[in-house]
């Protein structure tokens, strides 16, 4: 398995090559955020030797809009001022993930442990809500939201993101719960524990890895979702993916600003993944071995 030193070296080189392959676009994207406009599309591409500057970040975070002069930023903050959008993304992604995970955990535990008539049909029904392309739902949702006053509200977007992620979360979590032996529940039942207690004290801690993995996926899907936010919001707020599209102007795309926002937008996702990392690795491998 270990092989000779040269084989090991080859494996290490191959691993670094693959890492480089994935990391290079991210590195280049980040450098775009620090480059002056004229260097962004320079041919041949400039990877290292350019005049680093923070102007794109200053614009995206409103620093050049007068914070340094103590002046108030105008309503709307200018087209390239993106801090509120970043905040909106964080709020929506965190709350929709929380909502999804709470509801999906309870639902999937029930589906895993309890027997109800037509259970298989129910699972299929849950999954089928993901079979329709989102664009087919977006326009009816617009009318429904308009009627219920949910258009252009945080609540509306949190709900739609939770609904969007729910089927995947339920199915994922059900498979995690299925992997926890029912004998544990039965032993606890014999000892007099209630269903709620078993769920809270025994099964939930054991499924924490799976829940973390599901939460990461829900967070990322909400963080990057575009169509529903585009259709169901107007001027109150925008999340990062839709806000980034405003960098596409009639006179060209502000690539530096878009890269600055993209770079900044990676940070919350990284932080979230770091927070759940301890459970995540366990969750991603949970169920990979069947007993």
């Amino acid at each position: 398995m270990n092989g000779t030193a040269s084989q090991r070296m080859l494996r290490i080189l191959a691993a670094w090559f693959v890492v480089g392959l994935f990391a290079l676009p991210i590195y280049y994207w980040i450098t775009v955020a620090f480059k002056p406009n004229r260097d962004i599309f320079a041919l041949p591409p400039i990877f290292f030797d350019f005049d680093w500057n923070l102007s794109s970040f200053e614009e995206v975070f409103g620093i050049s809009f007068g914070f340094d002069k103590g002046l108030e930023v105008l309503p709307g903050g200018g087209n390239f001022y993106m801090l509120p959008n970043l905040w909106a993304s964080v709020v929506i992604a965190v709350l929709s993930t929380l909502l999804t995970v709470v509801v999906a955990t309870l639902a999937s535990y029930a589906l895993s442990r309890m027997r109800i008539p037509g259970q298989h049909h129910f699972v299929f029904f849950v999954l089928s809500t993901r079979m329709m392309p989102p664009v087919a739902i977006a326009i009816p949702m617009f009318f429904i939201y308009k009627s219920f006053g949910l258009l252009d509200t945080y609540t509306g977007i949190i709900l739609v993101h939770a609904l969007m992620n729910m089927p995947l979360a339920v199915l994922l979590l059900k498979s995690f719960f299925d992997d926890i032996p029912t004998e544990i529940d039965e032993a606890a039942l014999i000892d007099g524990a209630s269903r709620v207690l078993i769920f809270r004290k025994i099964v939930l801690p054991m499924a924490m890895g799976g829940i973390a993995a599901t939460a990461v996926l829900c967070f990322i899907f909400s963080w990057t979702e575009f169509l529903f936010v585009l259709t169901l919001t107007q001027t109150a707020f925008k999340t990062v993916p839709v806000a980034a599209s405003t960098f596409v102007t009639s006179t060209g795309t502000a690539w530096g600003n878009m890269a600055a926002l993209g770079t900044a937008a990676m940070i919350p996702a990284f932080v979230f993944i770091l927070l759940v990392q301890r459970n995540l690795v366990r969750g991603l491998t949970l169920g990979s071995l069947k007993q």
């Binding site: 002056p36 406009n37 004229r38 599309f41 320079a42 041919l43 102007s55 614009e59 050049s64 809009f65 007068g66 002069k69 002046l71 930023v73 105008l74 309503p75 709307g76 903050g77 200018g78 087209n79 390239f80 326009i139 617009f142 009318f143 308009k146 258009l151 585009l230 259709t231 107007q234 001027t235 599209s245 405003t246 960098f247 596409v248 102007t249 009639s250 006179t251 060209g252 795309t253 502000a254 600003n257």
Partner: protein, 503 residues
Amino acid sequence: MNPVDRKLWLASITDRYVRGGMDRRTFLRSAAKLGLGVGALGAMSHLSARSGLGLISPAAAQENIQWPEDMSNWLKEAGKPFAGQTVRLATESTPPSNAINSALKGYFTEMTGINVEIETLPLEQVLQKLTLDVASGLGTYDLYYLDQSWMAAFSGDVIDPREKYESDKNLAMPGYNIDDFLPALVDGISMYDGVMVGVPYDIPIFIQMYRRDLYEELGLKPAETMAQYLSNAQAIQQAKGPEIFGTTGQMKSGHYSLECDWTCWLWSHGGSIFGPDKTFTGNDEAGLEAMNYWIELKKNMPAAVDSWTWDGQGQSVAQGIAGQLISWGEFFPSWDAPGGSNVVGLMEATVPPKANSLRTVEQTGFGEIPGVGHQGGSSLAVSKYAKSPDAAWLFAQWATAPETQVWITVLGGGTGPTRQSAYDDPRVKANAKPGIAGTTRHLDAVRETIANHMGSEPDLPEWAEISNDTIPVELGRFFAGEYDSPKAAMDAIKTKVDGIVAG
């Protein structure tokens, strides 16, 4: 000092400031003495409008902008009944929209008490939003940003601004002067079937732009004919290729930009999209001649033009790899922005070459106006379903008023004003300098192109689909080699377009 002298004096100090002959403090003090704080920003716009992409510093604007007293007083009175209402607008991220959203709308709110919420999006997403709004009749937007290619589709969903201006005198802004809009624009971008759909808002238009340094080195002159334009491109390509290409393009398959390029070559070769019988005529003799010209021209473009929209085209010039182009004049200021391009101060603008021949409007269909200077203007229209139509009308007038247009032009860094008076304003002329972001030195070419070379697409409800999908998709397939000949491609487009028009 009379107003004319004040403006001349302002132009003079602005000139000294721009040339570095006066420091900022002295300049602002001089401008303030004139009671023309406004003028200060005209000269400083190159400091605040960075890279020509519409980024404005509200802080800078707040320091300097003043509004004429009569305009401000009238808005205060007229806006009183609507104070607290909110006007919503969905618009493409264009220089005027960016200037208003970033720096100017706060003044409107301050004067009238009317809040303004502007949603800036890419063009195709604006179309989606407006279509949804009209289909539902819910009035989620009070104002529509209407691209000229959508006029027919939305003509039944808006309030005619002329009628509104005439019928509601309490809300008619004094000095608004609809006749001040460039007449060609009123016909080209605002009218459909006798209805004024909106007020002319901005006017991106094709002009001829070229690298002065290359032209001087190679002994070239700006093309006056289409043949000269091709030979200039070939000369640059031959002398400077492959580092510098003769010309460039916006030929992304399936994108509206590809259709825009096509119309320029079609119209300049005596062709038209539709004939008087309202059937597609791009496959006739003139249409095929245009395609052959385009194929020859494309040999002098970077291969990547097939994946570029206007963004890639503009970037190619900014990188210094293209010698000339006929395209959107609103690119021009971004190339002059220090640090924004490799061709700062090197580009020149002039009118497009003369067409080989031009069809008259009567020889075309659906009001199509052939001309080398393809225009992509837009109008601002009050929605019939608006929740605050009167407040929206006040905003529309303010946003397109002469004074606001001047501000948009000096702040917006690129847009072509739609009013004659804005082109003549000393603050706009003061920015006609090379090497500054927000330069207006291309505007003479823009104005003359509007007057004498402008081409306008046909007006029909199906045009948004035809121009944004049918034609660019098939042209993309042609340049990808899926058709044997231009004739085969044009015949295929004819079948599809005629089918769509016939319903």
